[in-house]
């Protein structure tokens, strides 16, 4: 898997959010997107996840030299971010079963149980998500994003709301991710940078 971002520009009316972003990452590489608040980190993550289209430029996902069509990109990526919520009224299990079945994951029940255990949420499967604390919701988002063993994991603010132990668990998962795939994180935290092999600074204009 390889991601190529070429001359990405994102503009909202007169306001330029991203100006000419270029990079290339391949399996086994992790990239940290850094920059101050409002510099366009989240916008870039959303463009990479194909949630919004760039004004100019392109993001291409390539597998074995072949470009993956835009409508299929979602199968290869996982995303954790503060703007990506779970269904609050439903239980954790209902949420995860829904995502897993939508993604057609074989033996998804075992996979979910395994991830819930890793993230320390075992036993809370049948609670509604709204009964979760914000830190636990963040853990649950990791479960949802990792279900299908994505080759590309995009994480916006990896540690938001997590406690010490949660951060440790998540770091371990992220290190694991970059061994076999691509990890892209957007962060302001210097500690998170230890996860990254490369840094990409985006600047507000």
């Amino acid at each position: 898997m390889k991601i190529k971002a070429k001359q990405i520009v994102k503009r909202y009316g007169k306001h330029i959010v991203l100006r000419n972003i270029n990079f290339e990452v391949a399996n086994g590489v992790s990239l940290a997107i850094i920059g101050s608040n409002g510099s366009g980190k989240t916008t870039l993550i959303k463009i990479l996840a194909n949630l919004i289209a760039p004004t100019r430029g392109s993001v291409t996902y390539q597998q074995n030299g072949k470009t993956i069509p835009r409508e299929n990109i979602y199968r290869h990526i996982g995303l954790v971010g503060p703007y990506l919520q779970l269904y609050q009224e439903l239980t954790a299990r209902e949420n995860l079963y829904f995502f897993a079945r939508m993604r057609n994951i074989p033996r998804y029940k075992e996979r979910i149980a395994e991830l819930m255990e890793t993230l320390g949420l075992k036993g809370r499967e049948d609670d509604a998500v709204k009964a979760y604390s914000s830190g636990m919701q963040q853990r649950l988002k990791y479960v949802a994003a990792l279900l299908h063993r994505p080759e590309v994991l995009l994480v916006d603010e990896p540690r938001s709301n997590l406690d010490e132990k949660g951060i440790e668990t998540v770091y371990a998962l992220l290190r694991e991710q970059k061994k076999h795939g691509i990890l892209i994180i957007a962060t302001n935290d210097n500690e998170d940078l230890q996860l990254a092999d490369r840094k990409l600074k985006v600047e507000a204009l």
């Binding site: 503009r11 909202y12 009316g13 007169k14 330029i16 100006r19 289209a53 004004t55 204009l205």
Partner: protein, 227 residues
């Protein structure tokens, strides 16, 4: 030069047509002086529909290309369209008061122009409720096309379900034109001349919008480079 001649020709022909509509063309039995509205009312209704079609066309082009210029064109078409829809409604309503003794009867023709007005109104309220430029362009284009789909229904199906008092449309089912020669000449010259005139106006608006867009892009690249 050619354009100048064209403008003068348009002016002279228009003057002749308007004079002809009031003096030369004979009146229709039963309608009396109210016959004359047809030379103005029908072309207006036609323009309202034409601009509606243009708006749908530009909306389609926008969705294909995501070029904001087409969105601006679609907006201009809709602005012109709503103007003519109002004019056609008002002239038709005054005529209806005289002939049918009420301003509004929900005749199928009245219903269809009313729907057109509603669609135009909805289009502009949707635009004003969307702040982000590309989102506004995209969603209003989708709405234009969705509304476009409902129009054939009012033209072909509603008149079949409901009995209409409206005089036979100009292009009726039999393909015959129910008019005298002189009426026909005035009517069609009015129709053609108004179409030419208002498409010309539309084209001026279009150029204006295009220039604005070019200026905006120029300024954008300037700030882009400065930074």
């Amino acid at each position: 030069m050619l354009i100048k001649i064209g403008k003068w020709l348009l002016f002279i022909l228009f003057a002749l047509t308007i004079t002809g509509a009031f003096i030369w063309a004979p009146l229709k039995e039963g309608l009396g002086e109210f016959t004359r509205v047809i030379y103005f009312h029908v072309p207006m209704a036609w323009m309202a529909v034409l601009f509606f079609l243009l708006a749908a066309y530009y909306s389609y082009r926008y969705l294909q290309s995501k070029n904001l210029l087409f969105d601006a064109y679609a907006q201009v078409s809709n602005e012109m369209g709503i103007l003519f829809a109002i004019l056609a409604t008002v002239t038709g309503s005054i005529w209806a008061k005289q002939i049918w003794h009420s301003y509004w009867n929900w005749d199928p023709r009245e219903t269809s122009i009313f729907i057109l007005l509603l669609i135009y109104g909805a289009y502009f309220s949707l635009r004003s409720a969307l702040e982000q430029e590309d989102r506004r362009a995209r969603l209003s284009a989708v709405y234009s096309l969705l509304a476009f789909v409902s129009v054939p229904f009012f033209v072909f199906i509603v008149p079949r379900i409901y009995f209409s008092l409206h005089p036979e449309p100009v292009l009726n089912a039999q393909g015959k034109i129910n008019m005298e020669a002189r009426q026909r000449i005035v009517f069609f010259s009015s129709l053609i001349l108004q179409t030419v005139l208002f498409l010309w106006v539309f084209n001026i608006r279009r150029t204006q919008v295009k220039l604005k867009m070019i200026l905006r892009r120029y300024e954008e690249t300037k700030t882009f480079k400065e930074n």
